[in-house]
């Protein structure tokens, strides 16, 4: 049997969850034995080169680019996992939710205390730029998500146990300490 293929991405996240993947210490070697990585910042593969079994998503969707990537993942991965608070519920970027986008843009580009040098009051509107969404969306409110691994970041042990269970088909038993939201 060929190795399961795993892809990962960071949307509106801070890469903390990816750090946590790497934080499984020497087990990372076991993981590399067990799976093959495809599109992922870990191996710098930019586009899917084959259908994947598992996609790990860090971060929620704050712009159109995030949405496209997420949909691409959904298309190419059999199983999609929301990894971490931002993917699950928007996380800190979602602090802006509820505030009109207009106010957010004004604060960021016109009126905020750290704004300087934007005398002409330009708001980024080049066609090349991703478009800002009205709020930061949890991934499962954009595409179907199969599993959720909470935490900020998720404990390395949780990621490991979950992946191991998925790959081996064994039942997932989580000790109390590993499921945490912070």
């Amino acid at each position: 049997m060929s190795k399961p293929v795993v892809a990962t991405t960071s949307l509106a996240g801070c890469f903390g969850c990816h750090m946590s993947i790497l934080d499984i210490d020497e087990k990372i070697l076991d993981l590399v034995e067990l799976v093959e990585f495809n599109k992922s910042p870990i191996d710098d593969i930019k586009e899917f080169t084959k259908p994947c079994d598992i996609g790990l998503i860090e971060g929620g969707c704050c712009n159109s680019e995030n949405v496209h990537v997420l949909k691409d993942f959904r298309k190419n991965c059999k199983i999609l996992i929301s990894l971490g608070e931002c993917a699950i519920m928007g996380g800190l970027p979602a602090l802006r939710n509820g505030i009109p986008v207009q106010e957010c843009l004004e604060e960021a580009y016109l009126n905020g205390p750290s704004v300087s040098g934007n005398k002409k009051g330009i708001l980024p509107n080049d066609d090349e730029l991703p478009m800002i969404l009205d709020k930061v969306y949890p991934c499962h409110e954009v595409v179907k998500i199969d599993y959720y691994l909470p935490g900020c970041p998720p404990r390395a042990e949780l990621i490991w146990e979950a992946l191991a269970a998925l790959i081996t088909g064994n039942e997932l038993k989580l000790p109390y300490e590993v499921v945490k939201f912070d």
């Binding site: 519920m89 602090l95 939710n97 509820g98 949890p138 959720y148 900020c152 109390y176 300490e177 939201f181």
Partner: protein, 233 residues
């Protein structure tokens, strides 16, 4: 000693003092009924609805129901646990609970219930309401984004002459907690700390203090909520 009242929870024989509510009595018998708004000693509010049990086929909140002789109570059933978990999830989507950035994280009872029920994600869509915090009180910070409207503060924090310092505003989905600015200005350190402690979530915070306990040492880092009760007997 007064006569004890005999009752059962999920078939287990239990004993209560007359006048005791089901929730407290269960705890005294080593049975944990998940609860959130209740604090022993305060008048029960019956507002979170999590302590829901079945008595004679009817759903009743354990914290507001006095034990009666011969009561047969169902507590640990799939249906009730599913509903309790659903309520916890409703509370998560109704407010803005950014646990990673919350001072109460690790000591929060709402979060602890979510851990106990192994909530990975709420089944309901997030609402992301816009709620305004209130920082006008000299010693307290009211972070309404996290308020679960349990009324613990309303019920327990009063002035010496019995006036309310906390109360609700509005109704329904719009309900919010308000603090009396005049009375809050006169609160002592002790009273302010008591208010922050009684709040089950990070909605009442004592100013200029936060994140003081390292992760791993907080109340619910290693021990599930209710495990202390279950250990007793």
């Amino acid at each position: 000693m007064s006569e004890k009242i005999k009752f059962t929870i999920d078939g287990k024989e239990c004993y209560a003092e007359p006048g005791q509510n089901v929730l407290d009595a269960a705890a005294d018998n080593g049975v944990y009924i998940p609860s959130l708004c209740h604090v022993r000693g305060l008048i029960p509010a019956g507002s979170c609805r999590i302590c829901n049990v079945k008595i004679a086929g009817r759903n009743m909140t354990a914290c507001t129901t006095p034990v009666e002789e011969g009561m047969e109570i169902e507590n640990d059933t799939a249906e009730l646990q599913d509903m309790r978990k659903a309520i916890v999830e409703m509370l998560f989507v109704e407010g803005n609970h950014f646990c990673p950035a919350c001072e109460k994280s690790g000591n929060c009872e709402l979060q602890a219930l979510a851990y106990r029920f192994q909530m990975m994600v709420p089944r309901f869509p997030y609402e992301f309401p816009l709620r305004k915090p209130d920082s006008t009180a000299p010693k307290l910070w009211i972070e309404r984004n996290r308020c679960i409207k349990c009324k613990r503060c309303v019920r327990s924090i009063k002035t010496a002459d019995g006036k309310n310092i906390f109360a609700f505003r509005k109704r329904g989905h719009e309900v919010e907690i308000q603090i009396d600015h005049e009375l809050a200005a006169q609160m002592t350190d002790e009273e302010a700390k008591k208010a922050a402690d009684i709040c089950p979530v990070g909605s009442i915070l004592y100013k200029e203090k936060g994140f003081s306990e390292p992760i791993g040492t907080r109340k619910f880092d290693k021990n599930a909520i209710g495990s202390d009760i279950e250990k007793v007997v």
